[in-house]
C-alpha cells in the first residue's frame, strides 16, 4: 500500500532567517525531488517564501521520512527542530489546505495556488502524487470560486485599488497622479494599473506647482508618498482644481508619514481622502472577513480530502475487482467456445445477440459485488473484502 509522507517547515514553525536557508529556487527544488525519488519513489518539493515542504509517496514511510529530514537538514542543520512530519490523511489534508491558502500568512492569498502547481510540474510524480496534487489544485480553485476568501484586499495597495473601484467602478480610463515615487506608492499604482488605470503624471519635489495643479483638475486618483516633512497638497489647491472637474469624483490616497495631503481635503465635495491609518484599518477588517470565510473553506477542503481518501482506499480492491472481472470473462468465453457447435448454426445477428446477453449477465452479476467492494474499501475493510473475493472465486490460484 502506497503511503504519503510530508516533511517540512513553514512560517508557523520557523522564523524568516531560518526559512530563507532552506528556501530553494525552482531548479534546486526539481533536483532535490529527483534525487529523493531514486528507488522508485514519487517526490514533490514545494518551496515558497513561507514554506519548504517535501511530499514523498513510497511504500516504506519511515525510510521516506528519514530521507526527507536528512535532505532538509543537509540544507540547514538548525532547521531540524522546526520540521513537521505528517503522513497519509494528515499530509493530504495539509496539502489541500496549503493549496486553498488556508495555511498562508494571509488567509486565502492566491499566489500559493500557482506555487503548488509549479511544484507539481517540477516534481518527480507518478500516479499517486499526480492525483494528490491535481486534487489539491482542484480544491484550491474550488475554495476561491465558492467562497469570498480571496475577494477582499489583503494589503494597503490592494485596499487603495478596491476603494478606487468603489468610487469609479471600472478603472479603465482612470488616470493617476503620483506624488513621490516610493515603494508603497509604486505598489498602489501597479495595483491600479493592473485594473486598467494609467499614470498621468509622476511628480517629485522638482515638478512645477502649476503642472501638479493642472493634472489635479483632470486625474481621478492621487497617490501621495513623499518624504516631505510637511503637507505637499493643501485643501485650497484641491478646491481650486475641483472647480474644473464638473462634479467628477477624486480619490486621494495618502501613504506618507508625515502626511502629504491636507486632512481638510476630506471636507471638499467630491473628494475622498484616505490616509495610511484608514487603509490599514480597512485591511485589518477585511482580513477578519477572510478568516470568517476560512471556516467555510475548511469544510470544502475537508470534503475534497475525503474524496481523495475514497479514491486511495479503492486502490486496495481494484486488483481484486480486475481479477474477478477477468475471471468471469474467461469463463464466459470458454463456455461460448464449448457451445460453438450449436452456435455455429446461428446467423451473425443471432450470434451477436447471444454474445450480448451473456456479457450482460456477467456484468449484472458483478455490478453489486464491485460496488460493495469499493464501499468497503472506503470504510477501511477493503483488504478483507478483496481477500474474501480472491478466496471465494479462486482468483490467482491458477498462477500459483
Amino acid at each position: 500500500m502506497i503511503r504519503l509522507v510530508l516533511v517540512g517547515t513553514s512560517h508557523h514553525h520557523a522564523p524568516v532567517e531560518l526559512r530563507e536557508r532552506v528556501a530553494l529556487e525552482r531548479e534546486a527544488a526539481r533536483e532535490l525531488a529527483a534525487q529523493l525519488a531514486e528507488g522508485g519513489r514519487e517526490v514533490v518539493c514545494l518551496s515558497t517564501c513561507n514554506r519548504t515542504e517535501l511530499y514523498i509517496a513510497a511504500d516504506d514511510a519511515e525510510t521516506a521520512e528519514r530521507d526527507a529530514v536528512a535532505a532538509l537538514a543537509a540544507l540547514e542543520p538548525e532547521v531540524e527542530p522546526a520540521l513537521y512530519r505528517l503522513q497519509d490523511r494528515a499530509a493530504v489534508l495539509h496539502l489541500f489546505r496549503v493549496a486553498a491558502g488556508l495555511d498562508s500568512l494571509v488567509p486565502g492569498e492566491g499566489e500559493i495556488l500557482g506555487q503548488v502547481r509549479v511544484a507539481h510540474e517540477l516534481g518527480t510524480t507518478g500516479v499517486f502524487l499526480d492525483r494528490v496534487f491535481r486534487q489539491a489544485l482542484h480544491a484550491g480553485r474550488k475554495v476561491r470560486a465558492q467562497t469570498a476568501i480571496g475577494e477582499s484586499p489583503a494589503s494597503v495597495s490592494s485596499a487603495a485599488a478596491a476603494l478606487a473601484e468603489q468610487v469609479f467602478g471600472s478603472l479603465d480610463g482612470c488616470s493617476i497622479l503620483l506624488l513621490g515615487a516610493g515603494k508603497m506608492s509604486e505598489q498602489a499604482s501597479r495595483n491600479l494599473r493592473s485594473r486598467g488605470a494609467s499614470i498621468a503624471l509622476v511628480a517629485n519635489s522638482k515638478t512645477p506647482r502649476e503642472e501638479i495643479e493642472t493634472a489635479l483638475a483632470t486625474v481621478d486618483v492621487v497617490i501621495a508618498s513623499t518624504n516631505a516633512p510637511g503637507l505637499v497638497l493643501d485643501a485650497e489647491a484641491v478646491a481650486r482644481a475641483s472647480q474644473g472637474r464638473r462634479g467628477r469624483q477624486l480619490l486621494l490616497v495618502d501613504l506618507a508619514v508625515p502626511r502629504d495631503l491636507d486632512p481638510a481635503i476630506r471636507g471638499l465635495d467630491g473628494c475622498y481622502l484616505y490616509d495610511i491609518d484608514d487603509l490599514e484599518q480597512i485591511v485589518a477588517e477585511t482580513l477578519s472577513g477572510r478568516r470568517r470565510e476560512a471556516e467555510r473553506a475548511e469544510s470544502l477542503v475537508a470534503a475534497e480530502a475525503e474524496k481523495f481518501h475514497e479514491w486511495h482506499a479503492s486502490l486496495d480492491v481494484v486488483p481484486a475487482i480486475a481479477s474477478l472481472r477477468a475471471k468471469a470473462e474467461e469463463i464466459r468465453m470458454a463456455e461460448l467456445r464449448k457451445a460453438d457447435s450449436l452456435l455455429g448454426r446461428l446467423d451473425d445477428s443471432q450470434r451477436k445477440a447471444v454474445e450480448s446477453v451473456t456479457s450482460q449477465i456477467v456484468n449484472k452479476l458483478l455490478h453489486l459485488p464491485t460496488v460493495r467492494m469499493k464501499q468497503a474499501a472506503a470504510a477501511a475493510d477493503g483488504v478483507t473484502y478483496a481477500e474474501a473475493v480472491r478466496h471465494l472465486f479462486g482468483l490467482g490460484e491458477d498462477e500459483r
Partner: protein, 262 residues
C-alpha cells in the same frame, strides 16, 4: 376572486422589504430571499393587473387609487431590471418599503379591485396616465439611486473600516444610472403632460392642483437634466436635487386628492 392576488403581492413585497433590511445588517442570504420576494410579488401583482384589465372596461387604472396600483407595478418592474444584481440589492431598501406602503394605500382607496368604467377614452388614458406613471416610476428609481449615492458617499467620506464589506454600486455608476433614468423619464413625462394639456384645451377645462403640481415636478426634473448635461452638475448636488424632485412626485401621486379624473 382576482382581488385575492393582492395578498400574495403584498406578502412577497413585504417579505422583500424585511429581507433588504436584513441584507443591510448582514449581507448574504437575506438579500437573496428579498430578491425572490420581489420577483414573486411582481408576478402576483402582474396577475392582479391582468385580471383588472380583463375585467375592466378599457383602461382600468384611471382612478387615483388604481393608478397607484399601476404605479407600484411600474416602480417594481423598473427596479427588477437592476435589483436582481447583487450590487443593487440595497436599492430595494428604498424601493420595497415604498412599494408596500403605496400598495396598501391603493388597496385602502379601492384601487386593487375591478376597475370602473371611465368617461375618458382608453387611448387617452394609456397615453396620459400610462406615460406620466411610467415617468414617475423612473423618477422614483432615480431618487432611490440618488439616495443610495448620498448614503455611500457619506460612508466613503467618513471612511469606516467596513467600507469594503458591502456590495454597493460604485458612486460613478449610481450617478450615471440616475442621470440615464431621468433622461428616459423626462421625455415620457413631457409627452404625458402634453397629451393631458391638449385634452384640457380641447375640452376648455381649467387647471387643477394636480396639473400645477405635475408641471412643477416636470420643471424640477427638466432642471435636473439641464444642470447635469449643461451646467456640469454631478455627484452629491445632483443627488439632492433628485431627492427634491422625488418629494414632488410623492406630493403629486399621494398628497393631492385624486379628483383629477372625477
Amino acid at each position: 376572486m382576482a382581488e385575492l392576488l393582492f395578498w400574495p403581492a403584498l406578502f412577497f413585497y413585504g417579505e422583500a422589504a424585511v429581507g433588504y433590511l436584513g441584507e443591510a445588517r448582514s449581507p448574504g442570504r437575506a438579500g437573496r430571499f428579498a430578491t425572490w420576494g420581489v420577483r414573486l410579488g411582481w408576478l402576483a401583482q402582474t396577475a392582479l393587473l391582468a385580471a383588472q384589465a380583463a375585467r375592466g372596461d378599457g383602461f382600468p387604472w384611471g382612478t387615483w387609487a388604481s393608478s397607484l396600483d399601476l404605479f407600484v407595478w411600474l416602480v417594481v418592474s423598473a427596479y427588477l431590471i437592476w435589483g436582481c444584481k447583487a450590487r443593487y440589492r440595497l436599492l430595494g431598501l428604498v424601493v420595497m418599503p415604498l412599494a408596500v406602503a403605496l400598495l396598501v394605500t391603493a388597496r385602502a382607496g379601492g384601487g386593487t379591485g375591478v376597475g370602473a368604467a371611465s368617461q375618458y377614452s382608453t387611448l387617452f388614458l394609456v397615453l396620459h396616465v400610462g406615460l406620466v406613471l411610467a415617468a414617475f416610476a423612473g423618477f422614483t428609481l432615480a431618487a432611490g439611486l440618488s439616495g443610495l449615492y448620498v448614503w455611500q458617499e457619506r460612508r466613503l467620506k467618513s471612511s469606516p473600516v467596513t467600507i469594503l464589506r458591502r456590495q454597493i454600486p460604485p458612486l460613478a455608476t449610481l450617478d450615471s444610472l440616475a442621470l440615464r433614468t431621468v433622461a428616459w423619464s423626462v421625455p415620457l413625462l413631457t409627452l404625458g403632460i402634453a397629451v393631458g394639456l391638449a385634452r384640457l384645451v380641447s375640452r376648455d377645462d381649467g387647471m387643477d392642483a394636480l396639473v400645477v403640481a405635475t408641471v412643477v415636478t416636470w420643471v424640477v426634473w427638466c432642471s435636473y437634466l439641464g444642470l447635469r448635461l449643461l451646467g456640469g452638475w454631478g455627484g452629491r448636488r445632483a443627488a439632492y436635487l433628485a431627492l427634491v424632485g422625488f418629494i414632488l412626485v410623492v406630493v403629486v401621486r399621494v398628497a393631492i386628492p385624486g379628483s383629477h379624473f372625477g
